[in-house]
């Protein structure tokens, strides 16, 4: 299984803080996002990724605590048991 955690505005948008998804051979962050989109029935991918498939500045995606920008981005491969976190941090002070 994959554990998904949603924080901040993403959690408020989806009205849920976590989701468990079955892991499939060959899963990547992108593929999981596509499955989540179907499951939650709330248009949220465009909040995370632009039309070119690039993550928007402002939302960080962590796989097992590591930012995907330091892994393989949306093509980061996922293993059974991985945890994904989606978090748009506040920038103001």
């Amino acid at each position: 299984m994959l554990q998904l955690q949603f924080f901040g505005l993403i959690r408020l948008l989806l009205k849920r803080e976590a989701l468990e998804l079955a892991w499939t051979e060959g899963d990547t962050v992108q593929r999981v996002l596509d499955r989540v989109q179907v499951q939650v029935a709330v248009p949220f991918i465009q909040k995370l990724i632009d039309d070119q498939g690039t993550p928007h500045p402002g939302t960080i995606i962590l796989v097992n605590r590591r930012n995907i920008l330091h892994l393989q981005g949306l093509q980061t491969p996922l293993a059974d048991g991985d945890t994904l976190a989606f978090f748009p941090p506040g920038a103001g002070g």
């Binding site: 955690q5 924080f7 901040g8 505005l9 959690r11 408020l12 803080e17 993550p55 500045p57 402002g58 939302t59 960080i60 962590l62 605590r65 590591r66 930012n67 920008l69 330091h70 976190a85 978090f87 748009p88 941090p89 506040g90 920038a91 103001g92 002070g93």
Partner: protein, 225 residues
């Protein structure tokens, strides 16, 4: 008019005891930014009796600052926040030694040696990344940030934790002004100060755990980093 430490700190010592109070008074912190978060963070630290407080900020007070920057008022518009902050903090507690660090946080910025921790009260990620890179290994870094009803607090230990700019890679500054309200600023600043005390007592509670707060539904959740 003056008061003994025993009188001044009597109510908080009832809560955390004399030993922890002494640790606060023996400690030294850097507050980076004395705007929304920094004005309240520095104020609470001084009220609690922090021994040494370094401040860095290069801003000048403007009208949109007054909704949340709790050290300042209308007559201060146009003045440098750094000197204003020092002036106001000294009025609150003259026992704290306050040291102004002039200039911007850039590649050349150096964190004073011997500080027990750094409070990131900045308002943009570029400066935050530069500040983190300026930390000596073993220095605690307490980050705060907010946007509207949401905010976060995170503690990292330089040299041991994942670097701040790796965790927050991609957290670039949005275009234009960020919505910031007085209530959420004080909530996040209060949480930061609570954690700064924990850092000074060597019991940080948010080390490598980002506390994500939303006033929209009064929720708090930890994001492990």
């Amino acid at each position: 008019m003056s008061a003994t430490g025993a009188e001044r700190y009597a109510r908080q010592v009832l809560h955390w005891g004399a030993e922890k109070q002494q640790q606060i008074q023996n400690s030294s912190l850097l507050v980076a930014g004395v705007g929304g978060l920094g004005a309240t963070v520095s104020q609470l630290l001084v009220r609690a009796g922090i021994g040494h407080l370094y401040l860095v900020d290069d801003g000048v007070l403007d009208w949109p600052d007054l909704n949340r920057q709790t050290l300042y008022g209308e007559k201060d518009i146009g003045r440098a926040k750094l000197s204003l902050a020092r002036e106001r903090l000294n009025q609150i507690n003259s026992a704290t030694r306050i040291i102004e660090l002039h200039g911007r946080i850039d590649d050349a910025f150096q964190v004073p040696a011997g500080v027990d921790g750094v409070a990131d009260c900045l308002d943009n990620y570029r400066s935050r990344f530069l500040l983190y890179r300026a930390l000596a290994a073993g220095t605690y870094f307490v980050h705060g940030g907010l946007d509207g009803d949401n905010g976060q607090v995170l503690t990292l230990l330089a040299g041991q934790s994942q670097p701040f700019d790796e965790v927050f890679a991609g957290a670039l500054q949005p275009q234009g002004s960020i919505p910031v309200t007085p209530d959420n600023v004080v909530v996040i600043a209060g949480l930061m100060v609570n954690e700064l005390f924990n850092v000074l007592w060597k019991t940080p509670k948010m080390l490598d755990r980002c506390l994500v707060v939303s006033l929209a539904d009064f929720s708090m959740a930890f994001l492990e980093v």
